[in-house]
């Protein structure tokens, strides 16, 4: 996890360093005493407790069923056994689930960000009349329980021939996720430098031109954060895919794992192997985009 460290840190260290180095007394006092090691040990133990489910999963993902039933969940595997992984991979047709998840999350990230940008352009830059109320509606939409729309959506998907189709899930999540995106981008855009817009308008750029050649390039970092968010959120979604995607060929990764639960043929090592490969894509994605993401969590909180 060491790559997960150097994002938000750079700011405060840069600020703090001069202050900490000037009065040497403070520095010296801070580095004295055994108490700090106790606190560090406690914080470290808490971290270990947080990680322990993952460690248990990792250890048991590479055990054979015989090894597991003989030595239990707490021992290290006697051999590096990968048949559990292969079992899960084949039984769930994992590449297909992976493809479904990537397709759905990727499409939602792209379309949701696009819809957020265009709508927020009208609200934040265009300052549409009644925009406070429009934003309030989006805010409420973001809070709605999915149960309150699922049955009609299910019926509608059937009516238009999108039952058990990834497209139904893509369309639904594009709208649900962009509720947050519109809210965030609108508040960012209300502080957009007016001089830039006026200069572009003087140069004869139309509204569409201004959106793509002035607003979009400046917003790109924020849009990147939004896309990462939308991707991970959609990847992790459970309820709507569970209801809408009813066949093996359309299911996403989390549903595939959960639906194997309670299957008598799935022993504990196989379940753990399955959990491991189901977690990996989200983990890899997180590590790749860690810098963008930590910035985004913060940005989302202040807005």
């Amino acid at each position: 996890m060491s790559t997960a460290t150097d994002s938000t840190v750079t700011g405060p260290t840069a600020v703090r360093r001069p202050a900490a180095s000037s009065p040497n007394r403070v520095d010296a006092r801070l580095h004295r005493g055994a108490g700090r090691w106790v606190v560090l040990a406690l914080a470290g133990l808490f971290g270990l407790a947080m990680l322990s489910p993952f460690l248990l999963m990792l250890v048991n993902a590479f055990k054979s069923a015989a090894d597991y039933s003989q030595n239990g969940p707490l021992s290290l595997p006697t051999e590096f056994y990968t048949q559990g992984l292969v079992n899960f991979w084949n039984r769930t047709d994992f590449p297909m689930k992976l493809l479904n998840s990537v397709l759905i999350s990727g499409a939602v990230a792209l379309l949701g960000t696009l819809l957020s940008l265009v709508t927020a352009y009208a609200i934040g830059i265009g300052r549409i009349k009644g925009r406070v109320w429009i934003l309030a509606v989006f805010l409420v939409a973001n809070m709605l329980p999915q149960e309150a729309i699922i049955y009609p959506l299910f019926t509608m998907a059937n009516a238009v021939g999108l039952s058990n189709s990834q497209w139904s899930v893509i369309i639904i999540f594009t709208v649900i996720q962009s509720a947050f995106g519109i809210y965030l981008l609108s508040s960012v855009l209300t502080t957009f430098p007016v001089e830039l817009l006026e200069a572009a308008a003087l140069d004869g750029a139309g509204r569409f031109r201004i959106l793509w050649s002035v607003v979009y390039p400046i917003l790109r970092p924020t849009l990147g954060v939004l896309m990462v968010f939308f991707f991970i959120w959609t990847w992790n979604e459970f309820f709507i895919p569970l209801v809408m995607l009813t066949s093996n060929a359309t299911q996403t990764v989390p549903i595939a794992l959960a639906s194997l639960q309670g299957d008598r043929l799935m022993d504990a090592p196989t379940i753990n192997a399955g959990a491991l490969v189901s977690l990996l894509p989200a983990l890899v994605f997180f590590l790749i985009f860690q810098r963008t993401l930590t910035r985004g969590v913060t940005a989302g909180a202040v807005k």
């Binding site: 150097d6 840190v9 709208v175």
Partner: protein, 310 residues
């Protein structure tokens, strides 16, 4: 900003041309959220088995039935447990952890140590909660779960059935939810603390203020805005919680971990009582909007007070 000086007629003209950019979003929201939400309320006025079955008008009968339904009341009582596990405890732990990482460990061992610890606390937040729930389901398993094997090894003769015992199932689910949630307030609060001038802490320390004094005088006031954000988002999430309950207990044993979202799901797709499920979902929606409104109101009041105090 500059348009405020312009005459009213010109100002009106400036926003109208932007309307086309609003239209796709409005259509999308009406079709995907507005219309289904209205239809759900409409369904809740009927007795309906779903699909092609006949819909029989029932008025507010479903809602009247809810009032007499013990499972319905249990599910909302359990929402309080969810709020304790997903809002109150994580916020308190997160507060202490963020303060310890930022004000204590970060300054004694460097920011790198603090960020590594923060990342370990945050990890459960980024992974699919359903997958984490499947792992926990196995860890808490009565026969070969890691916890009970450990307990047996320590000499406990009859370790409990964590998810199968009606008295223990809810505390076990709550434990998992605390584990899932705790990293979120830590990250948000640490980000908030980075706005504090570090010299403020140093000056307080030189004046002899202990760690607890600094927490009360500097840290808590500083993170108040973020506390409201955390309280709002986590409370809404706690009221909506579905996947952990689905993979851990399916609302059992004996309905002790039933939550509103799972209860409405059960009625929709398991019991084929669509109108009844729609009524549960409608009540849940109203509860969420009211609770969110209360939190937003408290936030506005707190901000007002802070402005007046200055």
């Amino acid at each position: 900003m500059t348009t405020t000086q312009a005459p009213t007629r010109r100002r009106r003209a400036t926003w109208v041309p932007y309307l086309p950019y609003l239209i796709p979003g409005v259509i999308a929201f009406v079709v995907i959220i507005g219309y289904p939400l209205a239809m759900n309320v409409y369904y809740s006025l009927f007795r309906w088995k779903g699909g092609l079955a006949p819909m029989r008008f029932y008025g507010l009968g479903n809602y009247a039935d809810l009032l007499a339904d013990e499972a319905f009341w249990t599910s909302f009582r359990n929402s309080i447990s969810m709020i304790i596990a997903m809002v109150i405890i994580p916020t308190l732990i997160g507060l202490v952890l963020a303060a310890v990482l930022f004000d204590y460990l970060g300054r004694r061992f460097g920011p790198r140590v603090a960020s590594v610890l923060r990342a370990t606390y945050y990890l459960p937040q980024i992974l699919p909660v359903a997958v984490a729930g499947v792992v926990w389901n196995w860890i808490l398993n009565a026969q070969d779960g890691a916890i009970n094997v450990l307990l047996t090894g320590l000499g406990v003769a009859d370790p409990p059935d964590w998810l199968g015992n009606p008295d223990l199932a809810m505390p076990s689910v709550m434990l998992v939810l605390i584990w899932v949630q705790v990293g979120y307030p830590v990250v948000i609060f640490m980000a908030a603390l980075q706005r504090v001038d570090p010299e403020l802490y140093e000056a307080a320390e030189l004046d002899g203020a202990g760690w607890w004094d600094r927490l009360k005088a500097i840290t808590l006031p500083q993170i108040r805005p973020e506390t409201f954000v955390v309280a709002l988002t986590c409370t809404v999430a706690a009221l909506k919680v579905f996947a952990p309950v689905y993979v851990l207990t399916r609302g059992g044993p004996e309905g002790t971990t039933l939550v509103p979202s799972y209860y409405s799901f059960l009625n929709f797709f398991d019991k084929s009582k669509v109108g009844y499920g729609a009524a549960v979902a409608t009540v849940l929606t109203i509860v969420i909007i009211v609770v969110a409104g209360v939190i937003l109101g408290l936030q506005a009041r707190s901000e007002r007070r802070e402005r007046e105090g200055r």
